[in-house]
Symmetry: C2
Subunit: 270 residues, 2 copies
Amino acid sequence: MFRSREALSVLVSLLNTYKVKIQYIGTSYCGWQIQPSDKTVQGSLNKVLSQICKTDNIVTLGSGRTDSGVHALGQVVKISMPLLIGNEELLRALNSLLPKDIRVLEVENVNESFHPIQQAQWKEYSYLFSTSRDLSVFHKQYVAQAPTGLDLDLMQKATQLLVGEHDFKDFQCVGTEVNSTTRNIFSCKLDPYSENWGPFPKEEEIYVLSVNGNGFLKQMVRLIVGTLWSVGQGKVTLEHLESSLSAPTGEKLGIVAPPNGLYLKEVFYP
Amino acid sequence: MFRSREALSVLVSLLNTYKVKIQYIGTSYCGWQIQPSDKTVQGSLNKVLSQICKTDNIVTLGSGRTDSGVHALGQVVKISMPLLIGNEELLRALNSLLPKDIRVLEVENVNESFHPIQQAQWKEYSYLFSTSRDLSVFHKQYVAQAPTGLDLDLMQKATQLLVGEHDFKDFQCVGTEVNSTTRNIFSCKLDPYSENWGPFPKEEEIYVLSVNGNGFLKQMVRLIVGTLWSVGQGKVTLEHLESSLSAPTGEKLGIVAPPNGLYLKEVFYP
């Protein structure tokens, strides 16, 4: 699209910059990040922005990449585009053109120096899973199937070991180069979730894991969930988990839990 | 599939009969009723039963046809098939082979005289709608978009006029021949629905209409909802609704509300 990095940076400085908060159902997307052939959330957003601005000179940057099938309740995106338009007007234009599984919640005009990745102070993810074999059809898209017979008390104890600054080298998948694998987890909570929704039958065995931290490695939350499941199954002891966090060996303690239970809930900027 | 009605009835008398309760998300189906080319719930069920029984000699009969896009929490189906199999075993076999948006909740062995349409004592439908323009992406598949600015108190009054035995001639769409258009509505309630689900944002303006009756005409519940919306918008008065129920003219008082808010909730047999 652009002949050089310099041309791109000159162009960007002439653009208007918006910070938007979006929500999406990840089920039918190959993740956030734009790809040449697969349907992605960023690809869909860029397409609609090009329609609105009648040009391809659009630059979008998300606060982080969500994987294929992962949902978002509050993904934050920086949009740089040549059209100057009111916030409310942009919100309405986007929502009228975007597919119905993507929705813009908020639009804010920001300084071009805004950086949605570097300036994020914390991020919060939620992970919904069920230990029942009989999950309702209405929940399957949104709640992951966990192994049955988990020791939830033990898992509760394990969540507390994850809190704090640790080297999460054993909790990442390859694919993204990072300078450091140390991250600070501010809170990690496992709660039963038993409210019912609409006319749907009450589901008794749904749990929600909420993790809040200063940053997350590739598939880190899903590896945390998989590890907690291993703990709950008695396959991994609390001592084993503790030593993995204090002296990583590169050995994973659990599976990468399925994407359908994961939600990027909130990204906070100071 | 069968050469004559007689051959069919002889065959059916040799089959084993099951009453099953199923749940489905109607979004990707052209309704319940089997069709030569379109994907339907009955078509998908028959296909899986044929796989299990290794024959096409399967007869299924639902308690009623749900339209394209309509969901079910408790559709009841009579299955007649040549294979004798335990209830729990049939349930597990069906759930392992059915698409993930269809799920069998209960299987019961019944007498071949069981008739899911004629023997139903009452049926209950729920209809979820929102009066907010900003419905979350997670609700859109399951909650219909109603007009904004509805007078809900007036709609509450209108629901009471629908209760009782009436000629619902103005509340049906053509397509199914019926002997009588008189139906008895045992209860009709409109309630605010404001519980939140999982990590999803709380939605303040969702309402649920629950209608219980001895039978329903084609698209009757959706026409009731459309009529209530007309009442809420001030387009139809309570007097107008009353006269339509006491002396039908063939004129509809509202639109057929969208299918995505409708749930066949329960079918009751004595």
